[in-house]
Symmetry: C2
Subunit: 275 residues, 2 copies
Amino acid sequence: MIESHKLNLGQNHILDSLSVAEYQRLSPHLELVVLPLGEIIYEPGDELRYAYFPTTCIVSMLYVMESGAPAEIAMVGNDGIIGVSLFMGGGTMPNRAVVRSVGYAYRLRAQLLLQEFNRAGGVRNGTLHDMLLRYTQGLITQIAQTSVCNRHHFLDQQLCRWLLLSLDLLPSNELIITQELIANMLGVRREGITEAIGKLQKAKLIECRRGLITVLDRPGLEERACECYQVVKTEFERLHLASRYAPSASYIPIHSGGLLRNESLSSRQARMKQG
Amino acid sequence: MIESHKLNLGQNHILDSLSVAEYQRLSPHLELVVLPLGEIIYEPGDELRYAYFPTTCIVSMLYVMESGAPAEIAMVGNDGIIGVSLFMGGGTMPNRAVVRSVGYAYRLRAQLLLQEFNRAGGVRNGTLHDMLLRYTQGLITQIAQTSVCNRHHFLDQQLCRWLLLSLDLLPSNELIITQELIANMLGVRREGITEAIGKLQKAKLIECRRGLITVLDRPGLEERACECYQVVKTEFERLHLASRYAPSASYIPIHSGGLLRNESLSSRQARMKQG
DNA sequence: TGCTTTATGTGCGCTACCGTACCGACTGCG
DNA sequence: CGCAGTCGGTACGGTAGCGCACATAAAGCA
């Protein structure tokens, strides 16, 4: 699970923003790990032993209801960190973090993160302390906007928002995920997603195969999405938190050829379906 | 607007938790102010000149959509602070903060808050820095749970949650608010609220007059509410953030006789209806 | 007092999404 | 290859909440 310390380094936005001194202190302790689809980073109430800085993976923060039905609170990729409760002081969270898209992440022992977080002398600009809090503020906006979107917008608009937010965390224009999982994330029926995807396909915005969605027309998606996507994206840019992959004005589609395709999609996803 | 520095002091949970040293540094700069219904504390993008520590008022964080329709993201009372963006580093937020229930709050110049926040030596336990971050984590849970609730639960359940959360921020069992405003907060039709309130009245859980809701049976409300209320409340208690008014196990109803009734309900509320 | 404003209650057709059921198609595995 | 398991498409009745249009009632004001 643990790979070279050098490979792929510097792909997480928070790590990229560290001062030289901080980076030198932390980098020896950063371990690059692969996070497989369905891996649970923490459960409600779990004390974290590590914080994770995703580079190519995407992790969902899910609330799992008493009924067992999950709902996505927020998604975290190479723009952020998993383990906010560590430095925010709560220690744990009442939700679950689960890997939604295979990929790499750097992990750092909780204690070391805290040590660096609390180090901060007088000046804080550009420090880890500063970046982590700014990221957390961005997270608040993402969560809040999800709430608004849940209430007010049509499912196909929500799907556009969700696709775009996911896409911004990925290096290609392909999303490896089943409709059932999307339904879980958005907290709706699987059939509803089928219908919404059908609409987007008819509009030539996306193209689908089993467990794979290819975005054909990103600007078209943005146009069709509700305001929520832009609100979140603009706020992240303002906070200097935008993902390394997030395109701003112009957009040139990339074809990865599915480099990080999941080996065993089905078996892994079984774990994610329920509590 | 500015009242005695001593009157009513020590009713905000964050201020109450400060160390003696911190309290001594800050208290000379805390101004007790009345926040009237409908007062806008900040608009999206506004740089804050003051942070506010509510004691008896309730402030809503609203997102105002492009259509002009508002939706409540979170509510803040004597358990928290208005002005999270100050210490989180973003400076501004993409939402609006508006007073939903008249009352008092302590205000503190932004610069002084930041100064104290950044002071923190090695030990942080029990400091303002610590409390503010822990509160912010609680806020995240509240926002996230609102999102889940929006998606999954019936309107009358959501109303129960909302009533209970509001009640926990108030010293009596009376809520001074119109159905129209509740509808705005929950992001639904006014008629929907009328219907939901009707159900709760039939169940003898509440009693209503124009612009006034009296809670008759709190345990009944809790039973009828969805899990979301308990999740938020439990998390706030775990983080030592519970409002001074929030009852835990046992509950004895209080009759204030409507001490802080709004003088001109209607005119004020006109401002809140739209963008 | 009577008039105006504002809050609340009610009815009715509409629709986005739900719950359920079922079927075909793709994929991975022996 | 053929089978089993999973994924995706479709259909259909049900319903929570919407949009609209009024009616009623309570509070404020002159």
